[in-house]
């Protein structure tokens, strides 16, 4: 009798202790809620609004700034396209760092959504003989040209097909996005991407408080967490507001062009009409909306 009594009280104590431990250790209700958060695309209007508010508050607490987090959907009648003038690019990598700042990429460990490849003029576009770590005093270097590569925003993206949890998809305006709160970090999309456009948060991403960009989009440049994949979104937080991507604005030689492929009067349509364009790895049938051309 005594034995069973002590056992009962032991069980009682255990459950009490574990309950209080659960409450004390950061496993709060908010975190539990986060654990059970659904895929962004299955959220109702109300749930979305709540989520955005919660995230804004969370970022404010962390970075001590006011944030504007948008979840603006695609605008009807838009399909974004990009064109890059290979003959103008001088390989200065200004786009790389403008992108880092605009899109809140981790500074330590470093993540770059744009990779600029230095190529030998004699070999043409030849990845095997290219170099991403070129580091001379001044660019461009004799006998070389430059090929910046970022997400090619394929019309038939292989990265979204392979995702086992539908955490990444193509939006109606053609932008391929990631739900960072849903990504499990299996990196199958990185194995599938033929352009090395997807990047993984191997460690905890670090962004200095004073450098953080407070204009954000849920599917774009909001701060990421450890263990998720991220990628170029054509600056979704800008282009859905009618602005250019940061890399287009910063390019000192005007090699980067951007616009709506469905608008016959857009600059991008002018380039497709009047210049001869190419896409990378066309044999893979990814059908990029990111074109390269020779302006001069």
């Amino acid at each position: 009798m005594k034995k069973s009594n002590s056992r009962r009280s032991f069980l009682k104590n255990i459950s009490l202790a574990s309950a209080s431990a659960l409450a004390l250790s950061g496993c709060s209700l908010a975190e539990l809620e986060k654990f059970f958060q659904k895929n962004f695309r299955t959220l109702s209007e109300k749930e979305r609004k709540q989520l955005i508010e919660d995230l804004e508050a969370e970022y404010k607490q962390k970075y001590h700034k006011e944030f504007h987090l948008s979840d603006k959907p695609a605008i009807d009648g838009t399909l974004f396209g990009y064109a890059l003038d290979i003959s103008r690019c001088i390989g200065c990598r200004k786009c790389v760092y403008a992108c880092v700042e605009e899109n809140n990429q981790s500074r330590e460990p470093q993540i770059h959504w744009i990779q600029v490849l230095q190529m030998e003029k004699e070999k043409g576009i030849d990845f095997v003989h290219s170099d991403v770590h070129y580091n001379p005093e001044t660019v461009p270097e004799e006998g070389h040209f430059y090929l910046p590569v970022q997400c090619q925003q394929c019309r038939t993206p292989q990265c979204t097909t392979v995702c086992p949890v539908k955490a990444t998809w193509q939006e109606p305006d053609g932008i391929v996005v990631v739900d960072y709160n849903w990504c499990i970090g299996c990196r199958y999309c990185m194995a599938a991407c033929p352009y090395g456009a997807r990047h993984f948060n191997w460690g905890k991403p670090e962004i200095p408080e004073e450098e953080i960009n407070t204009e954000m989009h849920y599917l774009g440049n909001r701060p990421r967490m450890k263990g998720v994949v991220e990628k170029c979104t054509f600056c979704i937080q800008r282009v859905r507001e009618g602005r250019y991507p940061a890399c287009v604005e910063v390019c000192p030689v005007g090699a980067r062009k951007f616009g709506n492929l469905l608008d016959p009067n857009s600059e991008i349509r002018y380039i497709l009409e009047n210049k001869r364009v190419l896409v990378l790895k066309e044999e893979l049938n990814t059908q990029p909306k990111f074109y390269y051309f020779f302006g001069v």
Partner: protein, 413 residues
């Protein structure tokens, strides 16, 4: 009540054994503790503690996963020859094969869990609760197949052991049907795992139709190797009877598998080297290195060398039927396939990467420790299951003996 008796009895069994057995348990326990320390670091700091980076985004973990899927598949496929050639202990072969399959599947899923960045979000992959990308993602297929395979094998093996334990007739028809389902499933899990890589046109190294056939052939070399050793041990320490002929027959079947594997690989190499396109680079990196980067070369030739010696030892009837040389060959072929799947399959797929850059990858200490943890936990589970199975099958560990023991204790009291 009976079930509690069974669990209690089994746990007692687990802790009873010879000195060698205790040494084995201690050895596994130390490895688990050492490995878990590494995994704890990874959980705290993220996958940055591995040597994987954006260029080589899958590596040692996924290689181990692939290897273990092969082991799981081959363990059950061994039932076919046992059935066709009418080896006497077919029930025992099925039981031990399926126990191995169950452990190997659990370990392979564990390797997926340690590889993903957010293991807590694993449930996103489930149907209904999460948003499983079925049927488009090969990874969801693989997960689904592995889970089904695990359940099927677990049901069969636990039903068989359960009926022996309770001294009942097992349902022969049901067991036979499920075993016959599990055999094509075994082929299925390894094929789907091969398709996981095969389906990526971005990675020319894997984008060959021969990948799945080569997977199956190599699995048929490594999977039976474990059982070959296990059967010999069982024969020594228990009343398990398996004729020399049956063991030699397994070895003979392994030779066929090795030959097929060799043929497929030569066909692949011929196509790559004779056409000499840019896709040759990955094979070059694996076999000879590119420029200064020769990190994989020792691994690949070690694997080739061990496989070749094993092939010769198994091919010559005299060395095949000599248990010393046979066992040397068994260990060699197992090691060869392990290095091939763990290192030589995954890493060249990413080196050079899609933009032609070379990132040199070799596993970090964290990755090795985590892998050691999973392998030791798996071995511990396998030891436990085999121990209970041996007791049930050969040592009269059943409900009757337990009751009798309880009875005698009561009488004494």
């Amino acid at each position: 009540m009976n079930f509690i008796r069974f669990v209690k009895g089994s746990v007692q069994l687990f802790f009873r054994g010879t000195k060698t057995y205790y040494a084995w348990l201690l050895f596994l326990f130390l490895l688990i503790v050492w490995g878990a320390g590494g995994y704890a670091e990874q959980l705290r700091d993220g996958l940055i503690t591995t040597n994987m980076r954006d260029s080589v985004s899958w590596a040692f973990y996924i290689g181990n996963f692939t290897f273990l899927v092969g082991v799981a598949a081959a363990a059950v496929m061994l039932v076919i020859p046992a059935y066709i050639y009418n080896w006497k202990p077919i029930k025992e072969i099925t039981i031990f094969g399926e126990l191995l399959a169950v452990c190997a599947v659990i370990m392979s899923i564990a390797f997926i869990v340690v590889d993903i960045g957010n293991p807590m979000r694993f449930w996103h992959m489930l149907p209904i609760f999460g948003t499983m990308n079925f049927p488009y993602s090969m990874l969801s297929w693989d997960f689904f197949f592995l889970l089904a395979y695990l359940i099927i094998n677990f049901v069969v093996v636990s039903h068989l052991l359960y009926s022996i334990f309770y001294q009942k007739e097992y349902r022969k028809k049901m067991v036979l049907t499920i075993v016959f389902i599990s055999i094509p499933m075994a082929v299925g899990i390894h094929t789907v795992t091969a398709f996981l890589y095969n389906a990526l046109p971005a990675r020319p190294f894997w984008n060959s139709a021969l990948l799945a056939p080569r997977f199956l052939a190599s699995a048929f070399c490594s999977g039976p190797a474990i059982l070959l050793i296990l059967f010999q041990i069982l024969r020594k320490v228990t009343s398990f009877e398996i004729k020399d002929e049956a063991i030699w027959r397994i070895a003979e079947l392994m030779v066929y598998a090795m030959f097929i594997y060799l043929f497929f690989t030569i066909a692949e190499l011929f196509k790559e080297f004779y056409s000499g396109t840019q896709h040759l680079l990955y094979w070059k990196y694996l076999l000879f290195g590119i420029g200064e980067n020769k990190e994989l070369v020792p691994y690949s030739w070690l694997s080739i060398g061990m496989g070749f010696v094993a092939f010769i030892l198994f091919l010559i009837p005299k060395t095949r039927k000599n248990f010393v040389t046979l066992n040397i060959g068994t260990v060699l072929i197992y090691a060869s396939v392990y290095v091939e799947k763990g290192i030589a399959l995954i890493i060249p797929g990413f080196t050079p990467d899609v933009l032609g850059q070379i990132y040199v990858y070799t596993p970090s200490m964290t990755e090795i420790r985590t892998a050691v943890m999973i392998f030791s936990l798996g071995s511990l589970l396998f030891t436990f299951l085999v121990k209970v199975a041996i007791a049930i099958i050969f040592e009269n560990y059943n409900i009757g003996s337990i009751r009798r023991k309880e009875e005698s204790v009561r009488i004494q009291a």
